[in-house]
Symmetry: C2
Subunit: 366 residues, 2 copies
C-alpha cells in the first residue's frame, strides 16, 4: 500500500502512454483529469494485488471510444459516481476498490481520478499490460470472465447497463451507444472478485508505468550509456527503426482511429523506409518490407530526443521518432491470446511471431 500524488501521476501518465503502444489517449489530457481530482480530493491509495481479499468486488474504470474525440469532448466529474451507483445497485453490494483495465495515457489516469473522487483505493493491476482497441481484448476474456454487467455513462448524464451473452456482443452494443453519445464515454466493465483479479490480471502495472515514466524523465543523466541505450535497456525495448514521419494516413470510423504512418530513415537507418499500421494502437511495424513486430507485442513510437511516447493521434509530418518493440504480457502469447488480439484478428496477413524471434539476427538492435 502506498499513496499516489501529483508527482507519481506525472510519471505514471508518461510510462502508461508508452505502454499504450500508440493508443490509450494523450497522457497530457489524462493527467490533467487525474491531477484535478487529486488536488480536489487528496491523494489515492494504491493497493498491491496481494493485499486484496478474494471475495470483494473490484470495479475497473475506463473511457471507451476514439481518443481523438475524447480530447475535444472532455470528461466531467460526475461520471464515476454514476458508474459506482449503477454497478453497486446491480450487484446489491459495495465496491471494495477500483482498477484500470488498460495502460495508456488516458485509461491509466481515469481510474486514479475516480478513486480520488469516490474515496476508494486503486489496485495495482490491469487487464492488458498495454492498450487494445476493443473491449473483449483483456486477459479476463481468456480467463472466461464476462465483461458485463457493463456500466456506461456520458458527460451529459445518460447511462446504460449492458448484460450480454458474449464479450463480443458487449463490444458491439456498447460501441453503438458510444457512437450515439458522440464517440467517447466513461465505462465500468469486467467487475470481478479479488480472487479473479489476482488470477488473470496483469499485476503491478501502475508501478511499472511509474518506473518507465521516471526513466523517461531522468534519461538524460545516464552516463556511461548514451541516453538512447539507457532508455532501451530500462524499457527492455527492441530498437526497430529511427526515422522522420513522411506521411500519415488517418481515418476516424466506428469510434476508432485507423491509419498508417510512413517513416523515412535517419542516422544509421538513412535511405531505408518503414511503416507502422494502427487501429487506435500500433498493430504492425515493417522495415523495407520486412515485418519486425506485430500485435500483441507492443510497438511504440517515441521522440528521438526526449523518448516521450508519441500516440497515434499525435503523429505529425516531419517529427523524428524511434520505433521500439516491447514484449507483451505472456498470457497474450498463448493460442487463446493470439486468437483474441493476434495480427489476423486485425486483418494483418501474417502469423504471430514473437518480437524477439523476428528481430533475431535481423536489423533490430536490442
Amino acid at each position: 500500500m502506498r499513496k499516489i500524488g501529483i508527482s507519481e501521476i506525472e510519471d505514471i501518465a508518461m510510462g502508461a502512454a508508452l505502454l499504450g503502444a500508440g493508443g490509450g489517449g494523450d497522457p497530457y489530457v489524462g493527467k490533467l483529469v487525474a491531477i484535478g481530482a487529486v488536488k480536489e480530493c487528496g491523494p489515492v491509495t494504491l493497493l498491491d494485488p496481494d493485499e486484496i481479499p478474494d471475495d470483494v468486488l473490484i470495479m475497473p474504470i475506463a473511457m471507451m471510444g476514439a481518443p481523438t474525440v475524447l480530447a475535444e469532448k472532455g470528461i466531467g466529474g460526475k461520471e464515476y459516481e454514476t458508474l459506482y451507483k449503477m454497478v453497486s445497485r446491480f450487484f446489491g453490494r459495495e465496491i471494495y476498490a477500483l482498477m484500470p483495465i488498460e495502460a495508456g495515457g488516458v485509461n491509466s489516469m481515469l481510474p486514479i481520478a475516480a478513486a480520488a473522487r469516490l474515496g476508494l483505493p486503486l489496485v495495482d493491476c490491469d487487464g492488458m499490460g498495454r492498450a487494445f482497441p476493443e473491449l473483449q481484448m483483456v486477459t479476463f476474456t481468456i480467463g472466461g470472465l464476462k465483461a458485463t454487467p457493463m456500466a456506461l455513462t456520458d458527460e451529459k448524464g445518460n447511462s446504460v447497463i449492458f448484460d450480454t451473452i458474449t464479450n463480443k456482443w458487449t463490444e458491439e452494443l456498447a460501441r453503438a451507444v458510444t457512437m450515439s453519445c458522440g464517440g467517447s464515454v466513461s465505462v465500468s466493465l469486467y467487475v470481478m472478485t479479488g480472487g479473479q483479479m489476482k488470477q488473470y490480471g496483469v499485476k503491478n502495472i501502475v508501478t511499472r508505468s511509474q518506473k518507465l515514466g521516471e526513466a523517461i524523465r531522468t534519461v538524460k543523466n545516464s552516463a556511461p550509456l548514451t541516453p538512447e541505450e539507457h532508455f532501451l535497456q530500462f524499457a527492455e525495448g527492441f530498437k526497430l527503426f529511427k526515422g522522420k514521419i513522411a506521411d500519415v494516413l488517418r481515418e476516424t470510423r466506428g469510434a476508432f482511429n485507423y491509419g498508417k504512418v510512413v517513416l523515412e530513415g535517419i542516422g544509421e537507418y538513412k535511405d531505408r523506409q518503414a511503416f507502422v499500421q494502427f487501429q487506435n494502437e500500433n498493430l504492425l511495424a515493417s522495415v523495407d518490407g520486412e515485418i519486425l513486430a506485430t500485435t500483441p507485442d507492443l510497438i511504440c513510437l517515441v521522440d528521438t530526443e526526449t523518448f516521450s511516447p508519441v500516440t497515434t493521434d499525435a503523429l505529425k509530418y516531419g517529427k523524428r521518432v524511434m520505433v521500439v518493440g516491447l514484449k507483451c504480457f505472456e498470457m497474450w502469447r498463448t493460442p487463446a491470446g493470439i486468437e483474441l488480439v493476434g495480427p489476423r484478428y486485425f486483418g494483418c496477413d501474417t502469423d504471430y511471431i514473437p518480437l524477439e524471434k523476428r528481430c533475431e539476427g535481423g536489423t533490430a538492435n536490442v
Copy 2:
C-alpha cells in the same frame, strides 16, 4: 376485472391493428404469440385502470424496431422474464401489473403474452391510443414522465438498461442498440405508478380494441345499414378515399419502415388519386392534392370487403382499400401533443388541423 382468452385475443388483435394506423405490426404475428402463451399458461386477467392502487408499479411491455423485421425474426418466450427481472431489480420492488404502451397488431399482443407467462394481470390502458414510431411519442412524455429506466432484451439473451436525461435520448440510444441486435427487440419502458398511469394513460384501450375487432368480425350482418356504413359508424370513422393500390414506395432505414402508397380511385372516387405517406404508421393522407388528414389523427387503410386493417408492411399492388380517418386521443391535440407527434415533427410541411375540420364540407363522408 375480466378474463382474456383466445376469442378475446382474436378481436383485440384485429381492433388494435386498426388503431395501429398502419403500424404496430401484423396482427396475425401478434396474435400467434399471445394465443401461444395463453394456451400454455392460461387466460390473462384484465384490470380496469380504476382498480389499480396509486402507489404500485406498472410495467409496460412492447417490441421496438421495424415490424417488417419482427415478422422474420420472431419473438421467444424468455424475454418477458428477463425484462421483469431487470426492472424489479432496478427498483428493488415487485411489479403489480403489466400494460401495453401502444395499440397495433403486435404491441397490443405482446403484453398479453407477457402477462400470461409471468402470471401477472394486465391493465386496460396504454400510452398512445394508437401506434407511433418513436418511443418518446407517448402521453406520458406530455405528463413529464421518464421513459427510463428502460429495459431491452433480444431473442439471443443480450439485455440492456437505459437511464437517460430525456426521452429523446432514450430513443436515440435504444434505437442504436435495436439496430445492432438485428432490428427488433423486446422492451419495457415508462415504468410508472398506478397513480401516474391513471392520470396520463389512454384508458380502456384494450376494451375499445376488442369492440372494434368484434365489429369488424360481425360487420356483414348489419342491415339496414350497408356493411361500410355500419363499420364507419361503429369506428366513428371519416371516409377519406377508396381506391386500388397503384404503387408502393418502401424503404427500411434506421429500424423504421418509410414509404408512400399511391391509390387510384374506385367507385365514387373513380378518376381521382390519393397518396398516403408513412413512417411505420400512416402520417398524411392527401386526395387530388388536398390534405384530408395528418398525424396525430389516425389514418387507417382497410380492406374494402372485410374492413380488416391493412398495415403499411402489407401494402401490395392491386389491393383495394378504403382510407379512413379516426380522431386521435384528445391529449395529442394540445400544443405539447402536436409538438411531439404533429406533422412537422415528421417533416410534413403542414400545420395540424383536426381531421373533422379538414373534412368539413370537403370530399370526406362521415
